[in-house]
Amino acid sequence: MRGRTPILAMWLALSATLLFAAIGDGAWMQRVPERDRLRPNPFADNFNAVSGGEKLFHQNCAQCHGSDASGRDKHPPLRSDRVRAATPGELYWLLTNGSMRNGMPSWSKLPEQQRWQIVSYLKTLN
């Protein structure tokens, strides 16, 4: 039995690493349907939408992701290569559906237009 302990420990460590890698690697992106991925932001290049999105970000997102979007505790930063590379449609999908297994709630309680405003603001951060 004692001989199995290091193997068990290694297995747990590997599983944990893979799990965190999956979370940190933006596994949610794999679940975004193609038609959602390609959705254009109706408020792209709209300055008023960005300022509204900034206000919404501070009201709803900053408590977890930090007021400068640099992350807080276990919550990831939103000034990142992943957010920069994500399409507006992918970010909108994430706001709508969340990534509930990983602690990101759905923000469908906000109207569709406000979620796009937050996407507009996130894009300006990156």
């Binding site: 008023n48 009201q59 297994r101 709630p105 569709e112 406000q114």
Partner: protein, 289 residues
Amino acid sequence: MDRFRRRWLAAFLCVAFLVVCASRARAQENYFVTYTHHMEEPGDLEIATKSVTGFPQQGNSFLGNATELEYGVKTWWTTELYLDGQSTFGENTLFTGWRLENRFRPLLQEHWINPVLYFEFEDINAADKSLLEVVGHDGVADFLEPSDRSEKKREAELRLILSSNFKGWNVAENVIAEKNLAGEPWEFGYALAASRPLSLLATGNNCRFCRENFSLGAELYGGLGDRYSFGFSHTSHYLAPSAAFHLPSGPTFTFSPAVGLNHNSHGMLLRFGVSYEIDQIASRFRRNR
């Protein structure tokens, strides 16, 4: 200063404190009886008070109150504790019991219709007048007798919550089943609601009275009899317009006058509530240590 005035002063000071020391997050409660699929964000604690006042013609006016502590355990699991009390004019002011409820969201993505499962245990007494749900043959006749806290009501309540968001509207339907665990039959009820913010776009400035901070809607709720007499006979029903004001970076105020739709119902109920969300409360404690 008498006790009544002192209580109102304390309540006013609490609200004033919340407004002044506003946190960043805001609550999203729009309804009094109906639940939606929107869960509490994990780590957030919402403190709310839901009050109802009624004026039965052949009985004493009353003020029922439920103080609610709602915590987001997970994105898909919200737990709540209610502490109920009531004051009946010309009679007494009582603590009437507590309720513990849990809501689970089984589907972890947004769908056309989003189901949530709701389980509640209540340990209240017959004097409770918080009217958080209307089931079975509940009606105005229950409020005409003097408040009696000797009769205990240990009840289990189940709800199937169905809720959708469409073009800024939230539409929610609740099917309610409640059973007194002392061997009473299952009682049934329903609650339907719809609401919409006055503006779907957020303005860029930090205004308090922007249209986006106001929501209007309506609720329809009532009893559906019990296992042996299912239907609308001898049940009560209410239609209740509702309004909510989300103070940016502060509390949410809700108001709903409910109109009774048949002779078993109260003619009019006035509901009002205040809710306030403290974001990431566990993290705050960790940071302060």
